[in-house]
Subunit: 204 residues, 4 copies
Amino acid sequence: MAPRAQARKRLLEAAIRTLAVEGYGGTTARSIARTGGFAPGVIYYHFDDLEDLLLAALRHTSEIRMACYKEALGSCTDATELLARLRELYAEDMRDQGHIDAVQELFAASSTSPRLRAELLAHVEPWADFAAAAIRRLVQGTAFEDMVPSREIGLMAVAMFLGIQTITHLDGDRTRIESLFATVEPAAILWDAFARGGSTLSDK
Amino acid sequence: MAPRAQARKRLLEAAIRTLAVEGYGGTTARSIARTGGFAPGVIYYHFDDLEDLLLAALRHTSEIRMACYKEALGSCTDATELLARLRELYAEDMRDQGHIDAVQELFAASSTSPRLRAELLAHVEPWADFAAAAIRRLVQGTAFEDMVPSREIGLMAVAMFLGIQTITHLDGDRTRIESLFATVEPAAILWDAFARGGSTLSDK
Amino acid sequence: MAPRAQARKRLLEAAIRTLAVEGYGGTTARSIARTGGFAPGVIYYHFDDLEDLLLAALRHTSEIRMACYKEALGSCTDATELLARLRELYAEDMRDQGHIDAVQELFAASSTSPRLRAELLAHVEPWADFAAAAIRRLVQGTAFEDMVPSREIGLMAVAMFLGIQTITHLDGDRTRIESLFATVEPAAILWDAFARGGSTLSDK
Amino acid sequence: MAPRAQARKRLLEAAIRTLAVEGYGGTTARSIARTGGFAPGVIYYHFDDLEDLLLAALRHTSEIRMACYKEALGSCTDATELLARLRELYAEDMRDQGHIDAVQELFAASSTSPRLRAELLAHVEPWADFAAAAIRRLVQGTAFEDMVPSREIGLMAVAMFLGIQTITHLDGDRTRIESLFATVEPAAILWDAFARGGSTLSDK
DNA sequence: CATGAATGAGGCTTCATTCAT
DNA sequence: AATGAATGAAGCCTCATTCAT
């Protein structure tokens, strides 16, 4: 049913898989078609352009991930728990068909296409907002509540995620990120104990 | 003198300028030649490959910048001062012929070429070390000296730099970074006053 | 009634409109379908080929115009009147859905397709005959009756029509033709006065 | 010497030959290259575009032919002689590598490319002027001198030439034109005898 | 050392045409 | 009768790279 939408989805997923596996440079109409098992021409039946397909793939993947992250972190006020959930989400991302790698490749390619650049920029904004909101939930009710510039820190968080992803992408060593999570964990525990913990303690 | 070396340098700089101005996608043998005002064939006289030229350009630019950073930050033990010097260096980078943009483009292209990927990785390592050393100097003699995992934080710093660069690259808005420097400044002042400042105070 | 024939007619007219509006180069199965509001596949239900459709469209349009011209000029023996009627017919052609432009495009495409070439040739013949007949009516009863090679002049007339059409097609300036009609008019008046007029005068 | 210009000329002539032999529809980068015995890529080394090459070919051929016509007809004041020379020129055109057929194909293709259309239009004008000048020389000193709208008749002549060419192109029958020349000859003789002849007679 | 013409592979895209529905 | 998704060939063009000069 709705063969049109089904076909489009097949194309989107082939595009994402190809980006992840072959890199942007290797993502050609032919390679996408090979990945998806269809003729190159189909792409142009459903999309104006290769660019168009890639843009749609970006939106597709970003929407899906954003929904997951919102659900998983939406109500989290505890640093330790936040960190744990991020860890899980990240692991899930990695298990996926490579959505994150695909997005990484698109960042890489951004200078090639103004439209792609604009689209990526449009996606950075909401993610930075989302990160800022998570941070605000974290500091809410603590002594630091009014001192923390959550908007800026949100952007920094997104930047760091991007940067780490870039480096991970270079050597394919995903344990590196695990070790960063481990590094940050004590800080999270400290935060919960002293900054938030104080008030929580008195609650009990 | 050494006309060979001189010619090579001309090529390297043309490659860097082309990367910065046209992006990786627009960096072809012809466009580099046009930028530098020589014939495309020359490239193959001095380098095996376009890849070879790009790799050499990366090394060239990275060495130059690393030397600058080492000289400017080498002896810095004060967070406020460190931040101020970083700010200057960054401004200098921007004024330059676009070394940073060129490197950014090469990161973008890394998935295309294993050799490029390896080379970039080989440059990330020393920069992370360098950042770690700067951090160690910062915490040295404070109560946190043994608690701070400087290696990991160094990597995070490099990642953040990379990520911010990526985002800046997207919208061309360089004031964004200025605002991040401004955001971090109070933290640096606090650090100097309490963490370092305390002990330093008693020293005097 | 006769849904088959009706559908064919829809296709023919879509083909003609597309030729006139998009030019031969822009006349594809898809563009014809878009013009006519049907699916590209329908074409192959009613015709073997795109070529087949175009040929049929040529016949369709040529028949319709030939009938008009025959009716309007069939009994015309007066040069001035002949010219006036031609002028009207031409104006009508221009108001039409672009039959003439469509035919012009097919001439353009003739070197692509032998069948099209043959078909066009087969249409030139009757038009030249028709023009020759008109000329014969004009000279009949005059002193020139036996001297005028009407067959050749008929062909020249068709050629001139074609050529003017080609030039008009180039710059879209249809007033050019109006000015040619105006240029010829005095000659027609002269002819009627002296060649035909003389004898006619004595008749009365 | 001047290998650049030589190569360009080779391309221009290959383009013209291909247009004449294969028709516009068959004139692709590959077919031109095959005709000229070079790789398709060369075209893009010397020209921006296929369109660019075709435009240059049109100019090339038009200039050459215009020069010939100017030299042959420049001083002709006699209708019979004018006709004889035109006949020769036409025969020469046919013996050539098909310049005329090539131009014919470009007219056919004009609706495909605005630039081509503009270029053709720019060539029609001088030819019409040239024809008008020839006609003026013909009527000069006769009783009709002030009555003949040479500009308009010049355009008609060009149009007729074009139209005849179109028809000839359809069936490849070049004797048709011979027969038209023969048809017109008596008129030329008459003209020289009565219109011009009168004054010439009194000269002797 | 350098030039610049030439090559050939491969990328994007369009299109006539087919076919399951 | 009609639809519209899919195919595969072919077109245009770019590019790294080579090579005669």
